[in-house]
């Protein structure tokens, strides 16, 4: 369908145009306009998929089904709100002298190119192109993380590059093995890397090769999801890059990497009789939740703390998908959505808070509620939401995951509860004094972008109270596809 080509044609065109005009004053608005165009195209695409069912495009090279269309919409939406947030944010950064015109040009162009790679990874039907798009997403975000050119940001970016480069090389080997297994069944001419072809013959794929392939794919894409012990790049990349980049890293990139794992999981589950994928995902997921929760309590930098919180939540989602079954998978998808919305809202608030205080060290940020109170409210409400307080959506999905875990994997429940409790206590302990009390912060030179924060929080709240029927049907369909 033609709409699909608009979905990733718009950001691609945007990155080219912004590569020339990104340093101008109006570039911020162009960035928002292109993101808005992408979002509208994604909405139209969603409507088409809802009314017509799964769509193929470009000679079966692209494939849209309920699982990826929901992520396409989410990606385009968070891409849009982050672009809106980055308007005043980058203005303030420019006034502080942290962003020069060449850096702004690089930032805007790479922002759009990053959206393009995300959307390409989501919509492609070819497991090889999925790999290429994930690697390209790494490259664009490496440039985005290093954009301040400070010693710390360069170190974070090169660490990110090397670790994810090595990780994703494992995924390439996994893809080669997958191709090898598929070629025997589909034949070399039949498009043996197309996911739909693979899914059609998944029962005939050779179990030995597929087991090994999944192990490599899981390690490879798991590095990008930030699963412990492959998470080392994530806190650095989140803390040292500009805050809009932290928001899209947490809100989008981690989701897309997890999506890649889910696609591989569906194929592997079809080929194997054992529950290998489930055990692997539960193990790594649980380890991530527990380790990240304890790391949260030791952080001093606010962005690092929320980066560890992202690891914790990605671990929880991985655990939910690992358990499988309709309820846990549904909860996993819901958690992906609300985590993405709330965590990016938090990063928006944190970004402005750090600008107000002139530091990211939590002990030096005090009394946010005094000046530009909406930033303070956004931070405290977002933190409560991400910690799983009702009535936000995170509560609903965590409740579903925990109750399913009690029934199916009772051994894991105490660990999960302990980790969630530790995260709750230590994070709230840090956030409360930042928001209330005597103030140390200065007003911002430009009005902060509080609308994206509260739109995200509002959506997160809505998903906790009421899931619209079409969204519910959509999640159920996607959950069935993943093997719920």
């Amino acid at each position: 369908m033609d709409t699909l080509f608009f979905v990733f044609g718009i950001p691609l065109a945007g990155s080219v145009i912004l590569a020339f005009t990104g340093h101008r004053d109006f570039a911020r608005n162009i960035n928002v306009a292109f993101s808005l165009g992408t979002f509208i195209a994604a909405c139209i695409l969603t409507a088409e998929v809802i009314s017509l069912g799964p769509i193929f495009a470009g000679n079966r090279a692209f494939f849209i089904d309920p699982l990826n269309v929901f992520l396409v919409t989410l990606t385009a939406f968070v891409g849009l709100t982050t672009a809106i947030f980055s308007r005043p944010y980058m203005q303030i950064e420019r006034d502080h002298g942290k962003m020069t015109p060449p850096r702004l040009r690089l930032y805007h162009s790479m922002y759009q190119l990053f959206s393009f790679t995300m959307l390409l990874a989501l919509t492609t039907n070819n497991m090889g192109i999925l790999w290429v798009a994930m690697e390209a997403a790494t490259l664009t975000t490496v440039l985005l993380v290093s954009v301040y050119r400070s010693a710390a940001s360069l170190e974070a970016a090169s660490k990110y590059f090397i670790l994810c480069g090595v990780g994703i090389a494992q995924a390439l080997f996994g893809t080669v093995l997958l191709y090898m297994a598929a070629e025997k069944v589909v034949g070399p001419e039949g498009g043996a890397l197309l996911w739909t072809n693979l899914a059609a013959v998944k029962g005939q794929l050779d179990p030995t090769i597929i087991t090994l392939a999944f192990a490599f794919l899981f390690i490879g894409y798991g590095t990008k999801v930030g699963l412990v012990p492959l998470h080392n790049w994530l806190p650095d990349a989140h803390a040292e890059g500009p805050t809009p980049v932290s928001a899209v890293l947490s809100g989008l990139l981690l989701n897309v990497a997890l999506y890649a794992i889910l696609r591989c999981k569906v194929l592997t589950d079809g080929a194997l009789a054992s529950a290998l994928t489930g055990h692997l995902m539960m193990g790594f997921g649980l380890l991530s939740v527990v380790v990240a929760a304890f790391f949260i309590s030791r952080q001093k930098d606010v962005k690092r703390m929320f980066a560890y919180s992202s690891i914790e939540h990605m671990g929880l989602i991985t655990f939910a998908f690992g358990m499988g079954g309709p309820i846990a998978t549904f909860a996993g998808l819901l958690h992906m959505t609300v985590h993405s919305l709330i965590k990016s809202a938090i990063f928006f608030a944190v970004g402005h808070a750090a600008q107000k205080a002139g530091t990211q060290i939590m002990e030096d940020i005090r009394g946010l509620i005094k000046v530009n109170p909406m930033v303070g409210w956004g931070l405290i409400l977002g933190s409560l939401a991400i910690l799983g307080m009702p009535p936000f959506g995170v509560f609903a999905s965590e409740f579903l995951i925990l109750t399913t875990a009690m029934r199916e994997q009772p051994w894991a429940t105490p660990l999960l509860l302990l980790a969630l409790g530790v995260a709750f206590a230590s994070m709230l302990n840090r956030i409360l004094p930042m928001v209330f009390g005597e103030t140390t912060v200065k007003p911002l030179a430009h009005p902060p972008a509080v609308i994206p924060v509260f739109v995200h929080l509002g959506l997160g709240l809505m998903l906790g109270l009421y899931i619209p029927p079409y969204l519910d049907a959509w999640y159920r369909q996607a959950a069935r596809m993943i093997g719920g």
């Binding site: 290093s146 050119r149 590059f161 480069g165 390439l172 080669v176 090898m180 498009g191 090994l212």
Partner: protein
């Protein structure tokens, strides 16, 4: 003739493995780049031979791509980088060379053990060399871990990519062309970015030093 080609493929695979060993035992950056260039040439030759033996024309293209990127373009870029940064020597390895070689041997055994069940299932002419490809990957991986300097790490990364490409050729006669082109593009852009980073890191840490000195003067 038909018996000769598979033997030649095996020969070049063995050369790849030898070069991987040479790389983990090499401390000089300049020699490392030469070894990497040779590895690229061996990889291209092996790919072209598999293409010749199996009448897969797209493997010639893949071999051509390897020659262009890994024998000419990337080594040239690396030479430029080390010229500008003036880092020709690298004496630092975290583990000493003989130990590294011993670990390398263990890795080869492990790689063959891992590759055995897969290569039995493969119908490819070069299936016996899958273990070598995996061994090259693992050894480059180890090189990245044991070298503390940036340039050898990058070469390790690239040589891992060589191992991966050889694995793809050995197991499946190469990936579909569009994927291979995408991978080549990613690798090239990645190397360019890393090259730029090396300059920036250098520049940044130098300038930090200068500021540090100025501050001391003020006191």
């Amino acid at each position: 003739m038909s018996a000769l080609v598979p033997q030649l493929i095996n020969l070049f695979a063995a050369v790849l493995l030898l070069l991987a060993f040479a790389m983990i035992s090499q401390r000089r950056i300049l020699s490392l780049i030469h070894l990497f260039t040779m590895q690229g040439a061996a990889l291209a030759t092996a790919t072209a031979l598999v293409g010749y033996a199996t009448h897969q024309p797209h493997l010639y293209l893949s071999a051509g791509l390897t020659v262009a990127l890994k024998v000419f373009l990337i080594p040239w870029l690396l030479h430029r980088v080390i010229d500008r940064l003036n880092v020709r020597w690298d004496v630092e390895t975290l583990i000493n060379i003989p130990t590294t070689m011993l670990i390398g041997i263990l890795l080869v055994i492990f790689a063959f053990y891992l590759a055995l069940p897969i290569s039995q299932l493969s119908s490819s002419i070069a299936r016996g060399t899958l273990g070598i490809a995996l061994a090259c990957m693992l050894m480059s991986f180890m090189m990245m871990i044991t070298r503390s300097k940036a340039v050898p790490q990058v070469i390790g990364f690239l040589s891992m990519e060589n191992g991966l490409f050889f694995a793809a050729t050995a197991a499946t006669y190469g990936m579909p062309m569009v994927v291979e082109l995408g991978i080549a593009l990613d690798v090239l852009v990645g190397i360019l970015i890393l090259g730029v980073f090396m300059f920036q890191i250098r520049e940044r840490f130098d300038s930090l030093d200068i500021r540090h000195l100025e501050r001391l003067k003020e006191d």
